[in-house]
Assembly symmetry: C2
Homo-oligomer: 299 residues x 2
């Protein structure tokens, strides 16, 4: 069995996929905090991978990591929400699991998945903006994922949108993901209402029609559109794909984003503003892309 | 003779180049204001092109325009500093000059030139940031210029760096080129000293050691580094190439930019920060790239 496992800021998700990208099995575990020992994180990964394998021999594992992976896919250099720091993750996990391991950034994995099976199949070029704990991003161009000269393309979340803005866990200030992400949604809701709810709870309230929750999501959506306008100015893709947990609320998020995009994009009346569509693969996209890379690597 | 002509916000520059990109002849005219009739602009172009041709028959002309050119290269859709609005420039100039005309965005032309003959020759990928009246940008990737799905990639100057910031001629607010360009340099110098000097005059003062002028250039340089940090986070190129008139001051501009880039780039200690180098071709790069495209188109 080939397994793809996605290591996000709050959970670890492993999947087995079919030839056409459908999820056949999955297993979930929770992610330890970034101050916890590395071994706890790798134990959680192992539980998820073994949960999917269910006793079958592993032919290959793809690991999708929410962090900076160096270009040859050996090492996680830096991960804002994870304990990995310059860790030789690929080799260690391959030894532990007795199987070939492919390691890549989670947003690159999700971009591969959306390109092969999802919302980006028909577009020559698209940008993926994945709103989870933070923002992961990916660029697809002429049918290929652009990983960057150092494997670090797509760190959209750490583009500065507010000079001297909110502090970010990465050490900088005013990063886009402080204004547009699951954590940003929690913060906006908390500041406006004084209630501590997590992102999925705010989303659930919004779907039930709660005005405060809807306004908080619209605020995130507006920042989504502004940031995407910057990316479109620079890159001019045919399509914008929005994924990640926060995107599950759909048009409550995407409509304000589309509006802000049209307002903030240079020369909007003189160009085709790229459509903003939800990711087709949902929160499993990183794991699906990792499984795809594991299989591609083997064959 | 093949001629390349660059149409910038303040001047029109036509060149003839050798097979290896050297400028053999050039002619300059001034650009009419953006409120002036289109015919005045095209008269200025014609004078410059004929000045270079000097009676020899035109085999092809490349036009490098400071504006949004639609992807098939027929029309200038929008140009912040020029009178062209949805103008079928290619066909009209080809008829007027009796020669094949190739039309492209000035920054794409400059990127072609730096890729073929200049600072980007050895790099697999680079971004070009051209500081003139505004900012023109270009992306080269795996040895090819990425023009965008709609031919509009590289409009770096209209990425928003300050929410509700300075008004831009494009109709938006807080655009990067309001903080980092020739016009921005004039504004910063004027605000700090109350003196009305143009960009080249401020640059000349800075080279002579004037502290106010140096500080104004360092301010522009810091904004250059911040904006480039955003681009590197998104795109992760191997190299950053800075061109345009303002870049003629060299390290007075580029050192503050390098410093700000290292400070504002996500995970800088965990990655190779791309080198920031001056464009090799100077202010002729757009015209050189246009001449290259004219010759490539013919042959």
């Amino acid at each position: 069995v080939y397994v793809g496992v996605d290591v996000g800021g709050t959970k670890v998700l492993a999947v087995e996929i079919s030839d056409t990208g459908e999820v056949l099995r999955e297993a979930v575990d929770s992610t330890p905090g970034r101050g916890d020992p590395v071994s706890e994180l790798e134990d959680a990964l192992t539980r998820a991978v073994e949960g999917v394998a269910d006793g079958r021999p592993l032919e290959g594992v793809g690991v999708s990591a929410a962090g900076l992976v160096e270009p040859t896919g050996q090492t996680v250099r830096f991960a804002t929400h994870l304990p990995w720091r310059e860790e030789p993750v690929r080799e260690r996990l391959a030894a532990r699991w007795g199987a070939p391991v492919v390691l890549d950034n989670d947003a690159h994995c999700a971009t591969e998945a959306e390109l092969a099976y999802g919302a980006g199949r028909a577009a020559g070029s698209f940008l993926l903006v994945n709103l989870g704990t933070g923002i992961g991003g990916g660029l697809a161009l002429d049918g290929r994922v652009w990983r960057g000269a150092g494997g670090m393309a797509g760190e959209f979340g750490h583009m500065q949108v507010v000079p001297d803005g909110l502090e970010c866990e990465c050490g900088l200030r005013g990063c886009w993901e402080q204004y547009c992400s699951g954590r940003a949604l929690e913060r906006v809701f908390r500041v406006s209402l004084g209630s501590h709810l997590d992102g999925p709870q705010v989303s659930a309230l919004a779907r039930e029609g709660d005005e405060h929750a809807r306004r908080a999501i619209a605020t995130i959506g507006t920042w989504l559109g502004i940031g995407m306008a910057n990316l479109v100015a620079a890159f001019d893709p045919a399509l914008l794909v929005v994924g990640g947990g926060v995107s599950a609320v759909g048009d409550l998020l995407l409509d304000p984003a589309r509006e802000a995009l049209s307002r903030a994009l240079v020369a909007a009346p003189h160009r085709t503003v790229p459509p903003v569509v939800p990711a087709a693969l949902g929160p499993e996209s990183g794991a699906i892309g990792a499984a795809l890379l594991a299989r591609r690597h083997a064959g």
